[in-house]
């Protein structure tokens, strides 16, 4: 059987003396979208930061295509194909939109060599401009002038420019109007259809379940369950027990 694309095993992570993640495991197959759900403070962002290498695990291991990458520093992980679009978007506001995208593409050189990296970089940028037309139109402008939704598009575009094997999205709709959040998820949906493997951390449960193939729930640093997103969405008992949601989703968007 082929190795999973990403496998996280018994991850224990904390800050100072406080344990935040307690033996969390998850697996992402190639082409799959996995939603990580949980309330504020559950440890979702800590999980993403650890997979991206910004935090070092106390215990456990992270494997990419069967290779242990637990000790690989954050700055070397994009070249392996692990790319995080961080919570709060992390846009470089003093750089232009195009410079932000080129920063995303800067890891390609180490992965593919100079000549191929150049080609992939320009193709990647064209793909992003095709997806988010506003970014193409304003490519020379400083990113500071973009709205929250446009900045999120830039964050997704910048991550895509790195040609990720695993795209980690941490709260892509945080602070966005519901309509803009829908646009962001529409873009992520397109990526998923194109075969991009994605792990998305989300507080908006119904939206995430709508989007993902599988989902897991983290509560106080522990993984409580993992299942197909479709069956989770149908399970009213579960939605009520973990998220206080009952009944059908409201029209338009969901909490």
């Amino acid at each position: 059987m082929a190795e999973p694309l990403l496998h996280v095993e018994d991850l224990v992570v904390g800050y100072g003396h406080t344990k935040v993640l307690k033996k969390v495991s998850l697996t992402l197959e190639k082409g799959q979208a996995l939603a990580v759900l949980g309330a504020n403070g559950a440890g979702k962002t800590t999980l993403m930061a650890t997979i991206a290498g910004l935090l070092r695990q106390w215990e456990g291991r992270i494997e990419l295509e069967g290779q242990d990458i637990s000790e690989v520093p954050a700055e070397d992980r994009p070249a392996l194909g692990i790319v995080l679009a961080p919570e709060g978007r992390g846009i470089f506001t003093t750089l232009s939109i195009e410079e932000n995208l080129l920063m995303g593409a800067s890891c390609l050189r180490r992965r593919f060599g100079a000549a191929e990296a150049r080609q992939r970089s320009s193709e990647g940028l064209e793909q992003v401009y095709g997806m988010f037309e506003v970014l193409g139109r304003r490519r020379k402008e400083k990113a500071a002038g973009l709205s929250g939704g446009q900045q999120q598009m830039l964050a997704i575009g910048r991550a895509l420019a790195a040609s990720p094997k695993v795209l980690l999205m941490d709260e892509p709709c945080l602070g966005l109007a519901p309509k803009v959040g829908n646009e962001v998820y529409a873009a992520l949906g397109e990526l998923r259809k194109a075969g991009q493997s994605i792990v998305v951390v989300e507080e908006s449960v119904r939206r995430a379940l709508e989007f993902a193939d599988r989902a897991c729930v983290i509560k106080l640093g522990e993984k409580m369950l993992e299942d197909d997103a479709a069956s989770m969405k149908r399970d009213d008992h579960l939605l009520e027990a973990y998220f206080g949601l009952a009944g059908p989703a409201p029209a338009g968007t969901a909490p």
Binding site: P73, P78, M103
Partner: protein
């Protein structure tokens, strides 16, 4: 009118030197929050290398790039050995480290060159004075202004037109996110210390060509001027360094013109008073920027 132009030229010359000093400091501050008190010693070493090379008969045009190269390498070595282990440490730790570094390289200079003043001898051209109409412009002043303009132009081109520059600006704004782009913090730090060192090498030559004598403790004056310029202009931004440097130059020359002779001794106090006033009225400095290298 002629007198006014003369004062403007004087202020530009002094101010552009301060602007360069501040630029080298602000660059490292912006990427690692380091207030580097050892910076002045880069100038001092650049001056000593110039003296040693000149004494050894190295021609002036070869001596200048060698001094700049030496200061660049020294700055990179100091960054790698002394400051890199403290990336992410609280500013106070970095500040104390910089005092430690200052002492080490200062005492190395004392051991190597002794404490007696040494004089940097430059080609006679540097002592010439150009007569442009009624305005007298010493060649050294002109070289200082032109060097500063060239360095600032190269600095901005490097910062805004190269991948290195984008990495520096990114790291100055969001260091962790920059790592997520695959950029190694070591590399950013090495580039920042290299550019800072190269600028220090250039200013070292200009500074000691102007003041004449050099001792291992000659770092204090330029370091203080650089910090005043930075605080005036706004710490962490390139524009702040330039505005602060030129502002400080204008203030000093303005005081030397306007103050009665008996009050000239108080000019440092007036400068510090101006700094306090700026900090009260515009805490972000005259240019109104906070730590954003690109501004």
């Amino acid at each position: 009118m002629t007198t006014f132009i003369q004062h403007v030229v004087d202020a530009l010359s002094v101010g552009s030197m301060y602007a360069l000093l501040a630029l080298g400091l602000t660059l490292v501050f912006s990427v690692m929050n380091l207030i580097n008190f050892a910076y002045g010693m880069m100038l001092v070493w650049s001056g000593y290398v110039a003296i040693v090379l000149t004494d050894a008969g190295v021609p002036f045009l070869a001596m200048v790039p060698l001094c700049i190269a030496f200061a660049t390498v020294l700055s990179m070595v100091v960054g790698r050995v002394a400051f890199k282990p403290f990336i992410g440490a609280p500013p106070i730790t970095l500040l104390i480290t910089s005092f430690g570094v200052l002492l080490v390289i200062q005492y190395a200079a004392i051991v190597a060159f002794g404490e007696s003043p040494r004089v940097l001898t430059l080609p006679p051209l540097f002592s010439d004075v150009l007569q442009l109409g009624d305005v007298r412009v010493p060649v050294l002043q002109l070289i200082t202004i032109v060097s500063a303009a060239v360095v600032v132009a190269i600095f901005y081109a490097l910062l805004n037109r190269t991948a290195f520059g984008a990495q520096l600006r990114s790291a100055a704004e969001l260091p962790d996110v920059t790592r997520l782009m695959g950029v190694k913090p070591d590399r950013v730090l090495a580039i920042a210390f290299a550019i800072s060192g190269a600028i220090a090498g250039i200013v070292g030559l200009l500074w000691f060509a102007k003041v004449g004598a050099l001792t291992p403790r000659s770092d204090l004056d330029p370091t203080i001027k650089a910090f005043i310029a930075l605080v005036l202009g706004g710490l962490g931004s390139a524009r702040g360094a330039i505005v602060g440097g030129l502002g400080l130059g204008a203030l000093e020359v303005g005081m030397s013109v306007a103050l009665p002779e008996a009050a000239l001794g108080y000019s440092p106090a007036i400068v510090f008073g101006a700094v306090i006033l700026v900090l009260i009225l515009r805490p972000g400095g005259l240019s109104g920027t906070t730590a954003a290298l690109a501004r």
